[in-house]
Amino acid sequence: MEIAPPPFDLGAIAPFLIVAVGAMIALLADLFIPPARRPALGYFALGTTLVAIGACVWLWGGAVPRLAFANMIAVDRFGLFVTIVTLIGAALSILLSVDFLQEQRLGYGEYFPLMLFTVSGMILLAFANDLITFFIALEILSLGLYILAGSARGRAVSQESAIKYFLLGSFSFGFLVYGTSLIYGATGTTNFTALRVALEGSGLTDNPLLLAGLALVLVGFAFKLALAPFHMWTPDVYSGAPTAVTAFMSVGTKVATFAALLRLVTGALPALYADWSNALFALAIVTMILGNLAAITQRNIKRMLAYSSIGQAGYVLVAVVASDTTQPGVNDAAQSSVLFYLLAYTFMNLGAFAVVVALARPDDERLDLDRDYAGLARRQPLLAAAMAVFMLSLGGIPLTAGFMGKLLVFRAAIEAGYWPLAVVGVLTSAVALAFYLRVVVRMYAGESRHAEERPARVPVPLAVVLAVCLVATIQFGILPAIPLDAARGALTITAP
């Protein structure tokens, strides 16, 4: 008897394959090239991500949406959009790292291969249409990040960041896996498409096993996305990891994991809308309030950005809550605002971290808001101006990408009838302005402590990152049509 193999649709996972094979080539190449030539690997990794972006564009125009590998992979424009955002984030982070690693004497080690492996996990996460594919993708991405967080081997803070991230990450993984097993027990399947079919019009929606499974899976997601009250690890991990790694993980992980969350709840569990939307509603409110309030008291820029990223995740979550598939108009507005916000967040957050990277000196990372950022505008007017734009955008000031993102998110929430979320969102945005504007005020009004020293030289790759982020942040704020149209075109979560 022959067992028929499942159709072997390699074209469907081309972006993933390109990055994964690129990672393996980089890993082997790493063994044979002399340490002085290691930066070349960075440019190889950059090339790999660019080729993968090309593959995504090719698939975008091709025969999507389709399911592949026994329905475990869904290749649709939603996944492709998220993948492109992730790859852009990865490409910018790689550019950010090339000179940073050298200057901080961190050594390259397996940095770029690991980064590529992590990116391959993120891509798989965006396409996962089965809880198994989903948690394997999540592990590929997390394992790489645990090591990257600890990649500054001699530094105690980096090691501490790695062990904390590792323990909390695996802990949340335990919740996800056990929750999955309960969902499997209740429905007999882990496939998103099959789950949706099984739950439609069945009496299963009140099944305690299923609901307990959903709750555990959501707890796992909340840990991974750093939603309050499961966010305690974030500030320590973000501030301990090397800045370039922090930039990468604050962006890529969030984007890919939010995509997976959205695909799971709207693609597989629309029948449980009442249950998960209530849970996420509560999480969104707590996250927005706690993240933004805690950020106010921070003096370390990396810790402040960590809390800020918690707050930002709360805003994205608002739009996830509004994704009610029974009202197509509302759902489209909500999902496209999730995608737009993630795109805007990628550029503004990476930009802010790029400025932090640019200011770092080999002996001192220059992270103190009062000491190192005061009077920055007089010494380095360009960097200060860029930082001001990113801060204003994160704070949601009009004419920036962040403002458009918040506008779309809150409008989607109001359309779906969740006005309390919109109210809390607007109020916490106002609170958030306090700490975002404080950075701007320090830079332009403060007295510089480092006035006598020569301004930091900004290497070319870093300048490219800053320029791209700056242009995108302003462009998406003034003319959001292009990304927004793309996001609206990306709304078909596959379910043929």
């Binding site: 008897m1 022959e2 067992i3 193999p5 072997f8 393996m24 890993l27 082997l28 063994l31």
Partner: protein
């Protein structure tokens, strides 16, 4: 039938009860005056000079790490071997790909010197 089990149960209870009785008599009767010296673990009369736990060279950890990862990957070979007849060429190609990926990891560990002993 049930009676036989009852006998075993009575015996277990008796044994447990008797043991507990002896131990509690001991606790009540014996003097208990702990001193730091008395609480030390006994090592032929001289004070302990190093932690009792032995120290291992980190090489053991590296070997253990490599062993765990390559050992567990072999788990996928078993179902494949069982269904080999039915899987045909496709199964063979798939498994070769899988092993090639493992070999890349192996080559990496080798080149990096993780397999060098001493």
């Amino acid at each position: 039938m049930v009676d036989n089990y009852a006998i075993i149960l009575i015996m277990i209870l008796t044994v447990l009860g008797f043991g507990a009785l002896l131990l509690s008599i001991g606790v009540l009767v014996r003097p208990y005056k702990p001193t730091p010296r008395k609480l030390q673990s006994y090592e032929s009369g001289v004070p302990n000079i190093e932690p009792l736990k032995g120290r291992y060279t980190p090489r053991f950890y590296v070997i253990a790490i490599l062993f765990v990862i390559f050992d567990i990957e072999a788990i996928f070979l078993f179902p494949w071997a069982v269904a080999f007849d039915q899987l045909g060429l496709f199964g063979l190609v798939e498994m070769v790909l899988f092993i090639v990926i493992l070999l890349i990891g192996y080559a990496y560990a080798w080149r990096r010197g993780a397999l060098e002993w001493v």
